[in-house]
């Protein structure tokens, strides 16, 4: 794909010119967190240099300016995922906090003992543990829809688990450990046929796929800023306005009030009802800058380029007999999770690091996925828009060399 401006994009990310252990950095740990373009870094510098103050309450100029920037970022998020209203965009610390918010606010107020929450076998811990905590608190039951060995949701089994007790479906849009992209349109349609709301965990999907929450008709969508080339410490909960309106606040204090006396508190309206305390002001504005950057490249262009990278990596990986790819779903994002015969992923990670190559080695906060495959961990190379075919060559050469060293 010659039209993809890879050289210009790489030039936008200062860290990509750095050396690690005297070798050019090959950064392939994007599923954990992405590097930041100069535009995002500049936006943080700009905020802290010239636009910083606390938001929403100050009557002075700086506060008004910061508030404007902050709320402009909310509108950017709204348009990015095509939400119907900016009231449906709640800023939180990240995807994990967003799921916890839904579990503790929606879950605790709407579910009761015996109700079922349906997740899938490929979830990472952030979309397992908050539901387990809720189940313990209220006596609800966590059900798990199985996957096959390719790492694909077994759709018929998923549908068979939907019943009149099911009160919520929470499922990943794209698996962080396997790369699987779930058939979320079909999942949502099947759940809605039983009037069951659906939460999509978009932490992995959001930098790679066009997300239109109205077209999807999902009830909740969550993602983090740091995987979308934005700052860490900020993320988004999207919820349909009717659902959010009916939910009680998650935390108390600060922006979430309209009026407080010692006798009672009148809560603010959406979205502020769920934004207690001073938020990550500069980071939210930085997330807005990241969205601008991604939209300037075009998410469809990014998706197409990353699909090429994945196909190239998969082809080269197939030529290494000791390498086994974990997760071979037909619909898959740019993640190559793998094991090497008799070489532990942590040894792979350290050896590749000595060549300047950053991959992930571990269970990727998805221990049940590792249990399913009977392995302790995988090595995971995950690609972003700034990675190149040449970097994949370097990765594969490194893997071949370390196989030789281990004999």
């Amino acid at each position: 794909m010659s039209s993809f401006p890879i050289d210009a994009i790489r030039a936008d990310f200062p860290i990509l010119s750095d050396k690690i252990r005297n070798k050019p950095l090959v950064y392939l740990d994007n599923a954990a967190s992405c590097q930041k373009p100069q535009a995002v870094i500049d936006s943080l510098v700009q905020v802290y240099s010239h636009e910083y103050a606390n938001i929403h309450r100050g009557v002075h100029t700086l506060s008004v300016r910061a508030t404007d920037r902050f709320e402009a970022a909310r509108e950017k998020v709204q348009h990015f995922i095509n939400a119907a209203s900016e009231k449906e965009i709640i800023f939180v610390r990240g995807a994990t906090e967003a799921i916890n918010l839904v579990a503790q606010s929606y879950g605790k107020s709407q579910l009761q003992a015996g109700d079922e929450i349906l997740i899938s076998a490929m979830e990472h811990h952030a979309n397992i543990v908050p539901w387990q905590m809720l189940c313990q608190q209220i006596g609800a039951v966590l059900k798990v829809a199985p996957m096959n060995l390719q790492g694909e949701l077994i759709f018929d089994d998923f549908v068979a688990l939907l019943n009149s007790n099911t009160k919520l479906v929470a499922i990943t849009h794209m698996s962080n450990a396997l790369g699987t992209i779930n058939p979320v349109e079909k999942i949502i349609a099947a759940a809605h046929a039983h009037n069951i709301p659906v939460l999509l965990d978009g932490a992995q999907a959001i930098p790679h796929l066009q997300v239109d929450v109205q077209a999807l008709d999902c009830d909740f969508y969550v993602f983090s800023g740091h995987k979308l080339y934005g700052p860490s410490g900020v993320g988004v909960l999207y919820g349909k306005q009717a659902l959010l309106s009916a939910m009680p606040p998650y935390q108390g204090g600060g922006d979430m009030i309209r009026r407080v006396t010692f006798a009672e508190t009148e809560y603010a309206g959406l979205p502020h009802k769920f934004e207690a305390g001073t938020p990550a002001i500069a980071e939210v504005i930085g997330l807005g800058a990241a969205i601008d950057y991604v939209q300037q490249i075009g998410i469809d262009n990014i998706a197409q380029y990353e699909a090429e990278l994945l196909a190239y990596a998969t082809t080269l990986a197939a030529e290494i007999p000791a390498l086994k790819i974990i997760g071979q779903a037909a619909e898959k994002g740019a993640i190559l999770s793998f094991t090497l015969k008799r070489i532990h992923p942590h040894d792979i990670g350290t050896m590749l690091d000595s060549l300047g190559i950053a991959i992930r080695a571990g269970h990727h906060c998805a221990m049940p996925v590792m249990d399913f495959y009977g392995i302790p961990a995988t090595g995971r190379a995950s690609f972003a828009m700034y990675n190149t075919h040449r970097e994949i060559d370097v990765l594969m050469q490194g893997i071949k060399s370390l196989i030789e060293v281990f004999g």
Binding site: R21, H344, D347, T350, M351, A361, G362, S401
Partner: protein, 150 residues
């Protein structure tokens, strides 16, 4: 190609990783403790026989990276025949050296274990080397059925 890693991955480590020593179950062990590193999934079980405060036999089962496998394999070789107190002293010394808390590197006192001293330059890998020793420590203190590095 991996010249930078010579201190970390010495040939002794590859050898013990390929052919771990005392890799077996002791059916009538006096102590049996599981060690687990939840960050990477390394898991091992130590089997220890003790008579008159002397470790008369020790073995392990489990799976992990080359560093953790070599560490536990070397451990079983070295502490066999030592008193509980000698083993504890070795644990303390090993822990200090691998975590960089020791001012002077008394590598001689470590004997063969010195090949693992290189992990001090790789903070992410220290737990791989020390897992076996924390597990032994728990076994000697007869504290727990399983221990975790977290």
């Amino acid at each position: 190609m991996f010249d930078d890693l010579r201190d970390l991955y010495q040939e002794v480590i590859f050898d013990h990783n390929r052919n771990p020593r005392n890799f077996r179950v002791i059916a009538d062990a006096d102590r049996q403790v599981e060690g687990f590193n939840p960050l990477c999934g390394d898991r091992l079980t130590l089997y220890v026989k003790i008579a008159d405060h002397v470790i008369t036999d020790i073995s392990f089962q489990g799976e992990g990276c080359a560093i953790s496998t070599a560490s536990v394999s070397l451990l079983t070789e070295i502490v066999k025949g030592k008193t509980e107190q000698e083993a504890e002293e070795l644990f303390t010394l090993f822990h200090e050296i691998t975590t960089g808390k020791s001012e002077q590197l008394n590598l001689e006192a470590l004997g063969k274990l010195a090949v693992l001293a290189g992990v001090r330059e790789y903070p992410a890998r220290v737990k791989c080397a020390t897992l076996a020793w924390h597990t032994l420590d728990a076994a000697l203190k007869n504290q727990a059925k399983s221990i975790s590095t977290e």
